[in-house]
């Protein structure tokens, strides 16, 4: 995906109403009126959001003359998701390795402490000094 397309996608997603619209469209196409209903927003306000989503290629319009239902275009979203997944995977892998390093350090520390405690214990073979 071209970088500008990706930037458009992310910019379009940076708004809770637009994300809610996409979530709604993920369940099936809907007209502007149907989309406006749950948001307590005017149709022109919703239309503005729809324009942003359309420019970003995240939604398209149906041919039905009267309703012009909007529908989700899954491809750009999926491509953007790939980017996130790559990023998250890298950090999750880093931190998983860090977990392993920490477990090893804890294990080593415990061994050191055990050894010190062991040394501090009175030795059964040696004569113990009594008070």
């Amino acid at each position: 995906m071209a970088v500008d397309q990706l930037s458009n996608t992310f910019a379009a997603l940076a708004d809770p109403t637009r994300r809610a619209i996409l979530a709604r469209l993920a369940t099936g196409e809907a007209s502007v009126a149907e989309l406006a209903e749950p948001f307590d927003m005017s149709q022109p306000a919703i239309s503005k959001h729809l324009k942003v989503l359309e420019r970003a290629g995240l939604i398209s319009r149906g041919r039905e003359a009267q309703r012009r239902p909007r529908r989700l275009e899954p491809r750009p979203l999926a491509e953007a998701t790939d980017w996130i997944e790559r990023y998250r995977k890298i950090w999750e892998a880093n931190f998983k390795r860090l977990d392993a390093v920490l477990q090893e350090l804890k294990h080593k520390q415990k061994k050191t402490i055990d050894a010190l405690l062991d040394e501090a214990k009175p030795k059964p073979n040696k004569k113990r000094r009594t008070r």
């Binding site: 998701t81 860090l98 920490l102 477990q103 350090l105």
Partner: protein, 158 residues
């Protein structure tokens, strides 16, 4: 052992915060984040990359330098200067990649909080300017896109 969740949030336009809990006291976590022989074992990025160079002069004003290399011999380097160092709770450092794909220098603040033997590490990445972040975006840099990833994440998990 169950892997702790990695949380990513965007408190402001210029910032990104990553939070993750680790099952170890914070002195130990601080060591793992700052001792080269330990850092080299986990801070590797995508599969196939190693970290042949890891120099850390851990003091205020001290510099650090990281270089990663993949199987084809391709290298990627970055480094910066420590601005604050409070062991084991806080570390502030500048961060700059050799090829400037983050759109200039960023400031990275790492905070460690311990509760009942577990440590929560929060890393805040702050971009120098809005332009720097936009430049990073234009280059298609992963770093520059982080803030948006978070929002997309929210959408996808809503």
């Amino acid at each position: 052992m169950k892997t702790a969740a990695l949380k990513v949030t965007t408190p402001s336009e210029r910032e990104l915060v990553m939070t993750r809990e680790f099952d170890a006291p914070r002195g130990m976590v601080f060591d793992a984040l700052t001792k080269p022989e330990l850092v080299q074992r986990w801070l590797l990025g995508p599969p196939g990359w190693t970290m042949p160079v890891c120099d850390i002069d851990l003091r205020v004003g001290g510099k650090y330098r990281y270089v990663w290399r993949n199987a084809d011999g391709r290298e990627m380097g970055m480094g910066g200067t420590f601005k604050e160092m409070v062991r084991p709770s806080r570390l502030v450092a500048t961060e700059s990649y050799d090829d400037h794909w983050t759109g200039g220098e960023t400031l990275v603040t790492t905070e460690l909080a311990e509760t009942r033997g577990k440590t929560t590490v929060s890393t805040t990445v702050r971009y120098a300017t809005g332009e720097a972040r936009d430049a990073a975006l234009k280059m298609g840099a992963t770093k520059g896109l982080e803030a948006s990833y978070v929002r997309l994440d929210e959408l996808l998990t809503a």
